[in-house]
């Protein structure tokens, strides 16, 4: 398997190759990569992929990882069923 084919975002099936292409095109923030490729927009909301993409971007931009801002955290914190929200349930049965 080629390195470029490694799936980085498992929710949206985005590979390392696609992320590198996006950075090559000019993305300098995780927000841009997220908007262009959808990584971080799936059910896990970037929990798995963002640390990996952040490291990749930092390496490309020759910046310390901690200087790359993480994307905005969006509510809700857990994926929730409409019916549960409507009925005000504490959790899904």
């Amino acid at each position: 398997m080629k390195r470029e084919d490694i799936v980085i975002c498992r929710c949206e099936d985005i590979t390392l190759g696609e992320i590198r292409e996006c950075i090559e095109r000019g993305a300098t923030t995780l927000e841009e990569i997220k908007r262009e490729l959808r990584c971080g927009m799936g059910p896990c909301q970037g929990t798995t992929c963002m640390p990996l993409i952040r490291r990749e971007l930092a390496r490309y931009l020759c910046m310390p990882v901690e200087e790359i801002d993480l994307p905005t955290k969006r509510p809700p914190l857990i994926v929730s069923k409409f019916e549960s929200i409507l009925e005000g349930k504490e959790s899904e049965e």
């Binding site: 095109r25 000019g26 300098t28 923030t29 927000e31 841009e32 908007r35 262009e36 959808r38 927009m41 799936g42 059910p43 909301q45 905005t72 969006r74 509510p75 809700p76 994926v79 929730s80 069923k81 409409f82 019916e83 929200i85 409507l86």
Partner: protein, 380 residues
């Protein structure tokens, strides 16, 4: 960053990047775009992704139809997939008064060859079988309405503009517009000055602040609107479903997730925080018109700004009192869908070319005259 340009555009959303692209295509050199954050950080990247031609006023119909003509070939023209689909828009009428209004809208739309039509409940169910038939009496439908991915459209225009030599400066804020003897001579940014005779206000939610930099007072204000999106699910239906009465719109995007938004009572502000009140209200109203949604799962929600004008039509063109100061602002929630055509015409005006259509009715002067006709078909 360049210190001299023919045109400086303030705003890196669809209007700013598309105008830059069309200007560069028409042969204008030295175009600079200033974006205070990243591309698609503002209203374009927060919009509902719908592309609708079913409007009540001629100008909105003309710009929407013209934009659809552009959208249809845009992936190819810009060599970047913008995920454009024409699954239609189904507009619910809840009573006979609305049916009468929709008939008037259809008459306006037909003048522009927009293929919209009045349909019965039964026909609506053929297009979207999951509608709650207790909630509406008829509908209008236009098959050539649909969806485009706002992020990808915005990036597509930006990349294409850069290929034509446009300089896009991200994280660069315009801090002043310099006017000498009644003419624009430059823009001050947080990274230095750019000499230019022409400035374009494409600042979306912050249009009033940017106009104020040039000493121009414009009647726009911003208002928070919220959206939520579900997990991707199997294909349910292709059409966007909207209701002006409820202020709701919802569509399953090509990716499979379902996007929806709704109007709420909001004071003018720059607030783009999410609220739980929206989530509750949105979920309740969505289940009411499409009961199948009760099993959907919300993945995330966000907010963005509608930049509104008193008549819900944009302000487009050169400002009379300040030659060289052009604007395309106040789109009132539909800047993405009419963005391509509006930007193209704006670029033609800036380049001194004959515009595809007369957009002088969108000049700011209409507010002085006070003869406003309110667009009846705004949603969200």
């Amino acid at each position: 960053m360049k210190n001299k340009a023919d045109v400086v555009i303030i705003g890196g959303g669809i209007i700013g990047t598309a105008t830059a692209y069309y200007l560069a295509k028409s042969g204008i050199k030295d175009i600079v775009v200033l974006e205070k954050s990243y591309i698609s950080s503002g209203a374009t990247g927060r919009c509902g992704a719908g592309v609708r031609q079913q409007w009540g006023l001629e100008m909105n119909c003309a710009l929407a139809k013209g934009s659809v003509d552009i959208f249809e070939n845009l992936s190819k023209e810009l060599n970047f997939d913008i995920e454009y689909r024409q699954g239609g828009y189904l507009v619910l009428a809840h009573n006979e008064t609305q049916v009468e209004q929709f008939k008037r809208n259809l008459a306006v739309q037909s003048k522009f060859n927009i293929p919209s039509r009045l349909i019965s409940i039964e026909e609506a169910l053929e297009i979207c079988p999951y509608l709650n038939t207790d909630t509406f009496v008829a509908a209008t439908f236009c098959q050539t309405d649909g969806h485009a991915n706002p992020f990808r459209t915005n990036f597509a225009y930006a990349y294409a503009a850069e290929k034509l030599g446009v300089e896009i400066n991200k994280f660069t804020e315009a801090t002043d517009i310099i006017v000498e003897n009644g003419r624009i001579t430059g823009v001050m940014t947080d990274k230095g000055r750019i000499d230019t005779p022409i400035v374009v206000n494409a600042a979306g939610g912050y249009s009033k602040d940017v106009a104020a930099l040039a000493g121009i007072d414009i009647p726009t204000y911003s208002e928070r609107h919220q959206i939520l999106v579900s997990e991707p699910i199997e294909r349910l239906f292709d059409t966007m479903v909207i209701s002006f009465q409820i202020g709701i719109y919802t569509q399953q995007v090509p990716h499979g997730s379902i996007v929806m938004g709704i109007s709420e009572k909001e004071e003018p502000s720059y607030n783009i925080n999410s609220s739980w009140q929206f989530t509750e209200y949105m979920v309740k109203q969505a289940i009411n018109i499409l009961p199948i949604f009760k099993d959907l799962r919300i993945v995330r929600q966000w907010a963005g700004l509608y930049n509104k004008t008193p008549d819900a039509q944009p302000i487009v063109g050169e400002v009379d009192e300040l030659p060289g100061f052009f604007q395309a602002v106040g789109f009132s929630g539909h800047g993405f869908m009419i963005g391509p055509k509006t930007s193209k015409i704006l670029a033609q005006l800036i380049a001194g070319m004959e515009p595809d259509m007369d957009i002088s009715p969108l000049s700011m002067k209409r507010f002085e005259k006070g003869e406003l006709i309110l667009e009846p078909s705004v949603v969200g």
